[in-house]
């Protein structure tokens, strides 16, 4: 390597890190990326993207078993599970090499190795990279962005064992479809795996310690999600206490207590999806002014750590653990370094999507959180059954719920469940980011026939009445 001096070093090549590097290159900063595993990070290799490929397959499997409503008859639809998994891996590979190509095009050097902070030399920070070939190189730059991401939280007794107990990682590359599956945790990750395996044909039990599934979503949405999952044959246990796993050589038995009632189930596989922890280890944070709180680096609103010139973005810097939050922080952080005027992120303007069937998407305050924050709210709901396109598509189950500040007309939050809602939520995100009120939303003309019309109707429902329900 001829050059080791840069304006900016980005440690981690995920959706936070590689985006930071691309933006820095656009702004004519000299920048390098240090990546220990795969470009694209968890998102692209072991998260967002491969799960979407799997969920697409499970959705097709569902449709193949539901063709009668469209007038088709298909005898004995089958799938090759190895090919389903193979396609998911191929998609990840394609996109990961896409990131490599983008960085190459932007002339951003990538150091394949594990980077850590290694002190200061003059006005520059040093980052020591243990390269994959065993050598090491020291890079220097006045600015360092840490974007090392996060990994699955491991609870005692639920450690991935390579056989019965999986984290998301093993769950993405199974050898065969488990017959009976227990999913622990009904956040986005757990729910997506539960949905995938159920729609592929596994018997799925989803357990959640909170009193409802998807506990960060609005209560109405949790309720509808549960109903839909149960209709698909999923077993749901909320407010559940899990006993120790009892492993035999062929399966696992576990006692689950719900409301004082105990039941014992036997399963072939267990997916543990009980949250994530930040990758803060071995980053050279010891002895610096960088503060770590519960595995996450503490930053200010502009992603600055306690150490001047060192920034942390994405999962490493805390919730919400979303790729698009990491990418946005990346751009903001780099622009601030380049001296541009930036706007801090408002977490109530970050959408969240879960790609289970039916899909769930939301932004901003739930009704309960809005009330807890002291807002007097106006709520509108519109069910998909009143939407022509949804019925024509054979997707009549869904709901759009909007929460407005009754005083100002501010759209505080929007919560959706049903077909394609993950593609539609951005409409409300734009409204919330642009600070539109109910007046502009009411005046917006939505195309007919689209499922998005239900977004308009929900607003009308909050202010005097939907037209089609």
């Amino acid at each position: 390597m001829s050059t080791t001096d840069f304006d900016l070093i980005v440690v981690g090549g995920g959706p936070g890190g590689y985006v930071a590097a691309l933006r820095a290159a656009q702004l004519k900063l000299s920048v390098a990326v240090v990546e220990a595993n795969h470009l694209g990070g968890i998102c692209l290799n072991w998260g967002c993207i491969p799960t979407k490929a799997l969920l697409r397959a499970s959705e097709i499997n569902h449709l193949l078993h539901d063709l009668g409503q469209f007038g088709f008859t298909v005898d004995n639809p089958r799938f090759d599970f190895g090919k389903v998994i193979g396609r998911s891996r191929a998609v990840s590979k394609q996109l990961s090499s896409g990131v490599a190509h983008l960085l190459k095009k932007a002339k951003v050097p990538v150091f394949d190795g594990f980077g850590k902070l290694a002190g200061v030399e003059g006005k520059k920070r040093k980052v020591e990279v243990a390269l994959k070939d065993g050598k090491s190189v020291t890079l220097k730059a006045p600015h360092v962005i840490l974007a090392t991401g996060a990994r699955a939280r491991v609870l005692p007794g639920l450690e991935p064992d390579g056989k019965f107990v999986w984290s998301y990682r093993e769950a993405l590359v199974p050898d065969e479809l488990p017959k009976r599956l227990l999913v622990i945790g009904s956040g986005a990750i757990g729910t997506e795996f539960a949905s995938f395996y159920r729609n592929m044909g596994s018997e799925v039990t989803l357990v959640e310690v909170a009193d409802r599934v998807l506990p960060v979503e609005d209560e109405d949405i949790s309720k509808l999600a549960r109903t839909a999952f149960e209709k698909q044959g999923m077993k749901i246990l909320t407010g559940a206490k899990l006993g120790p796993l009892k492993k035999s050589d062929k399966d696992v038995t576990v006692e689950i207590e719900v409301g004082g009632k105990k039941e014992t189930i036997t399963i072939d596989r267990v997916i543990s999806a009980v949250g994530i922890v930040g990758n803060v280890e071995k980053l050279g944070l010891e002895g610096t002014k960088i503060v770590v709180d519960r595995t996450h680096v503490v930053t200010d609103e502009l992603c600055r750590t306690g150490e001047a010139g060192v920034y942390a973005i994405g999962d490493l810097a805390g919730a919400p653990w979303l790729a698009h939050k990491a990418s946005h922080e990346a751009v903001m952080c780099v622009e601030a370094i380049a001296g541009l005027h930036v706007h801090p992120i408002d977490v109530t303007k970050i959408p969240g999507c879960t790609y289970c069937r039916p899909q769930v998407a939301s932004v901003g305050y739930t009704e309960a959180k809005a009330k807890a924050a002291g807002y007097e709210v106006r709520v509108g709901r519109f069910p998909f059954i009143g939407n022509g396109k949804a019925i024509a598509m054979g997707e009549p189950e869904g709901l759009v719920k909007v929460v407005f500040d009754a005083k100002t007309g501010e759209l505080l939050g929007a919560h959706m469940i049903g077909a394609e809602v993950t593609e539609m939520i951005q409409g409300y995100v734009i409204a919330r980011t642009g600070e539109l009120t109910e007046a502009e939303l009411k005046e917006t003309i939505f195309p007919h026939p689209t499922i998005s019309e239900s977004m308009h109707e929900a607003v009308l429902a909050a202010y005097g009445g939907a037209l089609h329900f």
């Binding site: 706007h343 100002t408 539109l436 009120t437 502009e440």
Partner: protein, 412 residues
Amino acid sequence: MAIEILMPALSPTMTEGKLARWLKKEGEKIASGDVIAEIETDKATMEVEAVDEGVLGRIFVPEGTEGVAVNTPIAVLVEEGEAVPEASSAQPNEAPSSSKAAAPVTAMPAPLAAQTSAPAVNKGTRVFASPLAKRIAKDAGLDLTTIKGTGPHGRIVKKDVEAAKSAGPAQAMASAAPVGGTTAHPLSTMRKVIARRLSESKSTIPHFYVSVDVQLDALLALRTQLNAASPEEGPDAFKLSVNDMLIKAAAVTLRRVKGVNVSFTDDAILEYNDVDISVAVSIPDGLITPIIRQADRKSLREISVEMKDLAKRARAGKLKPEEFQGGSFSVSNMGMFGVSSFSAIINPPQAAILAIAAGEKRPVVKADGSLGVGTVMTTTLSVDHRAIDGALAAQWTKAFRDVVENPITLVI
């Protein structure tokens, strides 16, 4: 992208004008809504407002340039850090290709009082604010023009309005009946224009003042006589005020002493062919100067009827721009408030203004040398010394006194 600023047309008939003054320098940051230059026509001085934001990259037409054709690029606005074009892309005589899309300026009239019609704030000054920010500001009674935006491109967002709200402006404090401290009343657009124009007048025009006491008895007697001649009612009925007669007196005097009916410019003193009297009228939160055009040629009755109409519409905010823009000389009368004397600030680009105080009973020495009682008022002429010297001002005040004290002139 560089945006050319074109010479605006201040009226449908305007083909060229004088670029009177640049208010921004090359390299200065411009926010949309900033007044960047002043344009003069024979009739009025108008302000040019920036529609876009950026940096004033280069000035193509230096200030003081006369006969600048409409749509000629006068400057270029660039983004920060962007290269500045050496010269304008369009030749002055070329058709203005970019005039619609880029149309980077709006002309805004800048008389003493700019805004008279709609009560809506910011008319003509585009304020960028989110719909939510606008609504919260409206509900809180906050003027968005007083709030600094921190959103994209300086857009005012909810956070800014909330901050302004909690900063405790007028509204919040009014209800709390504060002890001590101050209560902030946000400036209206009119107040801002008045503040700027008059500061500019007083700080750039070398004023001097000539006072003269004028005996009113003859004029009052004539007024009584004339008013008695009015029909009781009907379309021809009239009731002349002292002010109507003094407007006419000033107009007649200006016709006699033409050197005061002028404007000073860097190259020439412009003498107006017509005598157009701007009459200061007090309106809520400011004042405005409707104009009696060619007042020297109008009868007292015409002036009286027109003045009543103008004053009424001025207070209702219904004057058309041409009714208060322009004028060659101003009259400000505070007699009705019992003021014994005052001096006024010149209304640019005019060169003089007459301040009229109250008529009072004062001891006077009559022609025969005996002492008597007369109705006397003190009038003060404020003069732009660049255009008018002391002797000329004195000549004017003497002529004015002669006209008022021999008011028969007013009806000839």
